[in-house]
């Protein structure tokens, strides 16, 4: 039994390849001597680690948010560009405004449905990237969801059913991991209240570990049904080496939506 356990462990380590090494070895970087971006045996930047994109103040408190702002300033790190408004066609923009007027009460995420891409990434809960030789795994705390992203050159399957997180395949362009996501259903919001899309949505995510502690996450959303042009978004992921991904079962006590039914009846009778 012990032998089998050890063999299994060895296999797991072998599967993890060199990616596990730097990930396990992460410690807080000294402020004055920036650490180099870690690389895997094949020379690619190693994205492995536990990251968070947004909501630092909410998740870790105002002091931690202030500390990060000060560190950014000291390092001369520019703030991410302000988020562009979605370039909606008139009909789609009208729908978005209706959802905004209803104060987000229709949000699919509030029903604990899987949050799509890129919204799942920018929620104020951490996620772990596990970079393996032929695929990248992203393990999200929110919804306890995961994505398995092949990096071995394969394309999308030809039997895709529309889904919340879509289907992802990736390739490297220099030091940037470029993830192509398609096969979405139309049941999620992209980034904010009322940011609807159709099943023709295609998302291109670019992950670039520009420093030891950060990943620049650049997203392009294309959907000829709702957009007049591609919608761009950029966020910065922060490494959180001392975090761990915890369980998050959203449906456990989601009583808000029961009360919201009453709100809908009293405020938004059709």
């Amino acid at each position: 039994m012990l032998t089998r356990t050890l063999a299994s462990l060895a296999l797991l380590l072998a599967l993890a390849g060199t990616a596990a090494g730097p990930a396990l070895a992460q410690t807080a970087a000294p402020a004055t001597t920036p650490r180099p971006v870690p690389r895997t045996a094949d020379g690619k930047p190693d994205l492995s680690g536990i990251w968070i994109a947004g909501g630092i103040a909410l998740l870790f408190g105002e002091e931690e948010a202030a500390r990060i702002r000060a560190a950014d300033k000291a390092a001369g790190r520019p703030a991410p560009p302000p988020r562009e408004p979605p370039p909606y066609k008139p009909d789609a923009e009208k729908k978005r405004q209706e959802y905004l007027a209803r104060r987000g009460i229709d949000d699919p995420m509030a029903r604990c449905l899987l949050t799509g891409v890129p919204r799942i990434t920018v929620r104020p809960l951490p996620f772990e990237i596990v970079q393996l030789p032929t695929r990248v795994l992203i393990l999200y705390e929110i919804h306890h969801a995961f994505r398995i992203i092949p990096t071995d050159g394969r394309g999308h399957p030809d039997d895709l059913e529309p889904s919340y997180l879509g289907d992802s395949v990736a390739r490297w362009e220099g030091d940037t991991l470029v993830v192509d996501v398609t096969g979405f259903n139309d049941k999620t919001w992209l980034a904010g209240v009322g940011t609807i899309h159709s099943e023709k949505l295609r998302v291109t995510e670019r992950y670039r570990r520009d420093t030891y502690d950060t990943i620049i996450y650049d997203v392009t959303m294309e959907d000829p049904e709702v957009f007049t042009k591609p919608w761009h978004m950029q966020e910065t992921f922060r490494l959180r080496p001392n975090e761990r991904i915890r369980e998050y079962e959203c449906i456990e006590n989601n009583e808000d939506i029961v009360r919201w039914e009453k709100l809908l009846e009293t405020e938004f009778k059709k």
Binding site: G104, D107, M109, L125, I142, E243, Y248, N253, L263
Partner: protein, 131 residues
Amino acid sequence: MRAAVLVACGLLAGTASLAAHHSFAAEYDGNLPVTVSGTVAKIDWLNPHIYVYVDAKDDQGKVAQWKFEGYPPNMLVRQGWKRDVTMKVGDSITVFGWRARLEPHLGAARTITFADGRKLAAGPPAGTGGQ
């Protein structure tokens, strides 16, 4: 009720903020801050949001039970909260937050202050949310 519950009206700076999984404004009114002092009657330490039930006395000594929604446990533990340790049934607390639009004794908690003076974040700031 006035002795224990202070309701102030006025426009707060409504910066965009994020609750864990839904919009603040869907159910709560950032223009209606509320402060409630009383005794913790019950704690639902559950996802996707905790609820704290507070028994608060009004002017005539009549008890009304308030219910406050807060962050999910996953966010609270990262700010130092511990289930059944940081806040217990029977504790005297003061909750600052915002009133619900519909239900008279429901609110969104922002901070909770304990009898020993500790003041902890318990929920997100008022805002539009849903990012």
